[in-house]
């Protein structure tokens, strides 16, 4: 059985372990710096196993060296935003949290593929790549998978069809300028541009951009974790089982779409080797300039972050 480690046993980390267990993808190690937390949660999960019928092992630990031998390491540690905060507002604090984790990953699991959940995810994916010194294929974030699953849900409700028949694609940064690419959003193969008028598409764009914030405003003391954890589990399963799925994730660009040296959401082929291919899709002129705008906003933040840490 393969091994997946999840660093950070908050709601996203623990629920990702839960989904991974239910699908019997791999043995899971939950790690947290808070003594006892990961052990307690993993014990609770394992005690459900006889009813839920999973036969993989879930273990908790407060020693990060236990990630040795992991195929995939998920970084789900860090602060989440609260009402009124933007994702960028947790950048400084979360880089401090993620930096030592990166060093430990490089030391104990240097062959692993790393999935970054911690916000702001585009910047921290870039940070993780530089800090671990891993190749770009091995590091990616969770954003497009989450944004597009949310958009799939919104489209299915608007049209009154099963979410199973809806596919969606959201590119660019996981921030206010994230970009649904509607000609690639389909219902049973039919572009939603043939099924919905422009005004409805604009509403959907607003809705998906605000989706994370909407849940934060309801929960007040935290942010969404079921759909984020489902997205993590999906990506982990694709890598562990080498499923070669086409998904969008924040990845490091080297000239694709004319963008160089930053991380942002693009369409990739995901498999056992990580980011196995980056697709450059046929975007409209308007979409290309929106992507570049999102990139320029991210570039400023990412350059500044790397400079502060002396990483280049």
């Amino acid at each position: 059985m393969k091994k997946v480690s999840i660093v950070g046993s908050g709601n996203v980390g623990t629920n990702a372990a839960f989904y991974i267990a239910e699908k019997r993808v791999a043995d899971v190690l939950l790690v947290d710096v808070i003594e006892g937390l990961a052990e307690g949660k993993s014990l609770d999960l394992m005690e459900a196993a006889p009813i839920r019928g999973y036969d993989i092992g879930i273990r908790g630990s407060s020693s990060i060296e236990d990630i040795r031998g992991s195929e995939v390491v998920v970084i789900a540690a860090g602060k989440v935003r609260l009402p009124g905060m933007r994702r960028e507002d947790v950048l400084e604090e979360n880089t401090q949290i993620v930096a030592p984790i990166c060093e430990d990953i490089a030391r104990f699991a240097s062959d692993a593929i790393v999935i970054v959940v911690t916000e702001p995810v585009d910047a921290l994916t870039h940070f993780t790549m530089k800090k671990t010194g891993f190749k770009r294929e091995k590091v990616m974030g969770v954003a497009g998978v989450l944004d597009s699953v949310r958009l799939r849900y919104f489209i299915s409700r608007k049209l009154g069809v099963s979410p199973l028949d809806v596919t969606a694609m959201v590119l660019a940064g996981h921030h206010d300028y994230m970009m649904p690419v509607f000609q690639y959003c389909r219902v049973a193969g039919i572009p939603i541009t043939e099924l919905l008028p422009k005004k409805e598409l604009n509403d959907l764009r607003k809705q998906v951009r605000n989706a994370g914030g909407e849940i934060v405003s309801y929960l007040k003391t935290g942010s969404a974790f079921y759909a984020p954890a489902a997205s993590v589990a999906e990506m982990v399963e694709v890598i562990v089982r080498d499923k070669k799925r086409i998904l969008s994730v924040p990845a490091y660009l080297q000239g694709e779409y004319g963008i160089d040296g930053i991380c942002l959401g693009v369409t990739i082929l995901l498999g056992a080797q990580g980011v196995e291919r980056i697709f450059e899709l046929r975007l409209t002129e308007e979409q290309t300039s929106a992507l570049k705008y999102s990139a320029s906003v991210l570039e400023e933040m990412q350059k500044k972050m790397l400079k502060t840490w002396g990483l280049n």
Binding site: G160, D165, R186, I190
Partner: protein, 318 residues
Amino acid sequence: MNKVSVIGSGNVGATTVNYLAEKKTADLVLVDIIEGMPIGKSLDFVQSGPIRRYDVEIVGSNDFASIRDSDVVVVTAGLPRKPGMTREDLLIKNASIIERVSEEVATYAPNCVMIIVTNPLDVMCYVALKVSGFALKKVVGMAGILDSTRFCYFIAEELGVHPLDVTALVLGGHGDQMVPLPRYTVVSGIPITELLSEETIESLVERTRKGGAEIVNLLKTGSAFYAPAASVSEMVEAVIRDTKRILPCSAYLRGEYGLEDVFVGVPAKLGKDGVESVIELSLSKKEREALEASALTVRKNIEIWEAARRSAKAGVKG
């Protein structure tokens, strides 16, 4: 618990029961006129239940009364085409089976959705509709979903991507008369026209058209049943769970695509009432002509059936 009955306990019928039991979709009844056969198969199923963890009932029966009050009735009964048999012979023989079955379904399960699998598919749907007297949306045929799952598989294999990410849309009849729509056929939303050359797409379409025959040639003594049964059970799920799936199905048309009083493969929204709507796509001239040709063949077959039925009635009277 909902109830689904499957008429015909051959490989497609029995494998459909297998898939539905695994997904715990509904209580299941397998019916056949061959004495003992459906009872034996259902016993075999329930005896695998403790390992496979079924908690639905599975019953086999030689008596149509056991389908009473089913929510869905799947009709797989019929003969395969045998050497030396003309298409017309097959049509007449299977139409008489469907007539009998449809009368029984109308008697015992008058509120069900009927899913027809028997070939030639589109005309058998028409026979079932007319004989049962059911509402138009309550009779639907399985064909397009099978062609599209085959097409999806071939595309995934060609591109080296996961089949889950491939969605294909086909219209028209089954096999030779299939009308594939490459620009509506996508991988994670990306049209295959952006990923594959025209020649490659054409060769995958050809393989899909002949997908059934390819398997018959390999098996020699029978035809495919796993993919057909998977396709049927997907449709059953959509109806029982009212999931509003958009699936290519054979549906009765009333002017959609300019076609009337005929069953043809089109994208349809499936829910608890059967075909809840037919989705009309903008087609190219070539695609429209291919769809019309497909409908014309079905129409001709309907006329053959109607003529045979008239002469049979006249024969009885005479």
